[in-house]
């Protein structure tokens, strides 16, 4: 660090807003006139990561499309808690599909808009991880393959939360769910199974694939913005902690998501045309224990007889991600700030 730009300000770009920046430099969420696509009164649990992630993403998509947006929503938590008939929290044109066919319905909406000549109206489809990686996977793969003009957003909370926390193809190894109980020598979900959907999406060579978390709003909004700038099939995978299913404190939702990224367990990156073009580097590298130990779904790894062997395997997964995606910044700014003159 030899010079420091004069616009340096306390929280840099980490916090939601910044009273010193021009409006352009601020997040959509800091705008008092943001859409609030998902409005108050919804029935999501306290501290719901999915409700937060959905508002972040759809508000950003609304700004990017100047408010010309249709959303298709698969069955799942997000649909159930937002729209118990006849009430809804959505303040945008919104369509509920079956659990498994949201990508196909979105394809249809996009096709219909095209036929009607409404090229300025954009289409977003959204689902939880169950609706994306398991039940809706065939439709989604087809949508990718045809390169339909839809942005598909998966809110990944790593299990079927709506129906009582059952395992999905996105549930991580060792996690306790109602169908992977914490009993036996290999307690919790098995290692070596499940699906890494961002990489599967990249394998379809679609124009844009990215991951994000609710812990980094600037990054999430940038990615929505970029996804909305291109046409064709795009995929955004957002990690949204679930206090209920993960057994974490409702106040820790963002903290848990941040640790998922800082440990390397959830790599945050973007890919254009099937190739990774950028990663969010780890800022404070953290051992996986710190992430695991604040979640009840991993409680069986700690306690009286800690399962250091399993924790080590999870750490190895994180380390592999760090190597695969190059998640360590070349010169982390915060390793030794002492003695650096500006």
């Amino acid at each position: 660090m030899t010079t420091q730009p004069i616009h340096f300000y306390q929280v840099g770009s980490f916090a939601v807003g910044n009273r010193l920046l021009d409006d352009d430099g601020r997040t959509v969420q800091s705008d008092p006139n943001r859409t609030n696509s998902l409005d108050s009164g919804h029935r999501a649990c306290q501290g719901c990561g999915e409700a937060l992630g959905a508002r972040y993403a759809i508000d950003a998509a609304m700004r990017a499309s100047q408010g010309r947006l249709v959303a298709v929503n698969a069955t799942g938590c997000l649909e159930v808690f937002s729209t118990p008939y006849p009430e809804t929290s959505w303040r945008i044109p919104w369509l509920h599909s079956l659990f498994g066919n949201a990508p196909a319905v979105a394809t249809g909406v996009a096709a219909a808009l095209k036929v009607k000549g409404k090229s300025d109206v954009r289409v977003v489809a959204q689902a939880g991880d169950g609706g994306t990686v398991d039940i809706g996977f065939g439709c989604l793969s087809g949508m990718f393959e045809r390169n339909d003009d839809v942005l598909f957003i998966c809110y990944d909370n790593e299990a079927y939360m709506n129906t009582g926390v059952q395992r999905s193809g996105a549930t991580p190894p060792a996690a306790r769910t109602a169908t992977t109980e914490a009993i036996g020598s290999e307690a919790g979900n098995a290692f070596g199974q499940g699906k890494d959907l961002p990489r599967i999406a990249m394998a379809h060579d679609i124009p844009y694939v990215a991951t994000a978390t609710v812990a980094d709003l600037h990054d999430l909004e940038d990615k929505v913005e970029r996804a909305m700038q291109v046409h064709g099939a795009r995929y955004l995978h957002i990690l949204v902690p679930c206090p209920l299913g993960w057994g974490s404190a409702s106040s820790d939702t963002i903290r848990v998501a941040r640790l998922a990224k800082e440990t390397g367990l959830f790599p945050v990156f973007e890919a254009v045309d099937g190739k990774v073009t950028g990663v969010s580097p780890i800022r404070h590298r953290t051992p996986v224990e710190e992430y695991l130990s604040i979640q009840g779904r991993y409680a069986h790894l700690f306690g009286e007889h800690p399962r250091t062997d399993i924790i080590a395997r999870i750490q190895a997964m994180a380390d592999r991600n760090i190597t695969t995606y190059g998640l360590l910044a070349e010169e982390p700014a915060d390793i030794d700030p002492k003695g650096v003159d500006v």
């Binding site: 420091q4 340096f8 009273r19 010193l20 108050s40 009164g41 409700a51 508002r55 009430e87 500006v342």
Partner: protein, 541 residues
Amino acid sequence: MERPFAITLDVGSSHANRTGSWRVERPVYVDRLPPCNDACPAGEDIQGWLYQSEPGDYEAAWRQLVEDNPFPAVMGRICYHPCETSCNRVQLDEAVGINAVERFLGDHAIERGWSLPAAGPDSGKRVLVVGAGPAGLSATYHLKRLGHSVSLVDSAPKLGGMMRYGIPAYRLPRAVLDAEIARIVALGVDVVLDHTVDDIRRERDEGGFDAVFLAVGAQLGRRVDIPAGDSSRILDAVSLLHRVADDDPPMLGRRVVVYGGGDTALDAARTARRLGATDAVIVYRRNRDRMPAHGEELEEALDEGITMRWLTTVNSFEDDRLVLEKMRLDDEGFPQPTGEFEDLGADSLILALGQDTDLSLIDEAPNVVVDDGVVEVLPTMMTGESGIFAGGDAVPSPRTATVAIGHGKRAARSIDGYISGEEPDQPGRHELASFDRLNTWYFSDAPRTKRPELERARRQSTFDEVVEGLTEENALFEARRCLSCGNCFECDNCFGVCPDNAVIKLGPSERYKFDYDFCKGCGICATECPCGAIDMIPERI
């Protein structure tokens, strides 16, 4: 209305669903006391004026600063900044350079010629302030703002007290001091110089004053009996610094020994070096850990080639030879003689062994109690005699200019209460904003900006200022390193991270409020608040 197939109800908004009823804890915005403000002897709202500086509104910042302390440029040079010692940022990287920003604001104000807030509407009351050092000038300023007439008396030919006659010019250039004093005098102060008050009661009664503030300082250098020959040159540090300030420096010779371990000893040694001494040696009977001087000044002195003789006392001084005795610390840390002696050639010996107060002016005021050489005062700064207040070095306290300035402010408020017969407002103190309440993730990594120092060779021989100020860019950077501990700085985090849109943004400098109709009490806002300005409190159910 014709409804589509299978639809029997109209669409309604979820706004009807008041999820606030789920809550068992509610978030509330709080203001906590930042540790810097807590530590400031002058009672400055440091976090407040750093906040004003951050957007570059230096005038607002300076105005906020002089609410409490009319000497920003002086403070930015000579304050020992306990604010930085207690700064929470120490635990992240390094303390915010508060003192450097204060100096920048002070210098900026002098350059721009900003004036202090005007005197208050005339109360018709008159106050006598004896002593025009930091305590007396601070009291004068605050009394003027409260509308009282002030008569400021000092025995010296110029205003400033120890800021002028005790602190060398290389630490505090006189132009800076003069400028900040002139601003106070410009409020309309009746200044009487070269006048020694020898009976405080008579002076008060003859002048018809409603109250008196004694800020006579501690001007008498303490002496010890050192066997010395007739030709040996011994003088005390206070006189040395005073004469240098008067432009009448004494001849010290090339080898100067200073006896003592406080800030004054360092000032004397560094001054001797500038007067031409090739060897400036400080003899101190304890070790470095027990030295009362502040570390920064010691570093600067060592840098300038001052040498230290730890665990040593002066035994006698004959012609040009000092006899020193080695000491050792006993179990309780007190120095004890060892009986081992050594010689040291010296042209002069300067005693910097502490200072005493000349309190002869209260001989005829028996209610004013003197204990251990200083005046006893109540927390209001009132002495045993009603209407006579005291502060600064003349009362029991750490003897620094900043403490004295704080005394002056407190005394002025008490005097105002005494004169008007009303109890002065005692604003309650907020709870401390501790480091563990912060969410430091959100603060950018940013080590502090160092103040450039004059090159060593240049500073040894001149009285030019040693430590230079910050540029505007650096000052802004430094101000923005503030973590705003315990006080909302409108980062929009709570507004953004609420999954229920239950935070209402009220607009610039209006902060936020919670919408308790919908807040479910998850607590994310409190966890993610960078500065710890949100508490979760149990809901009454």
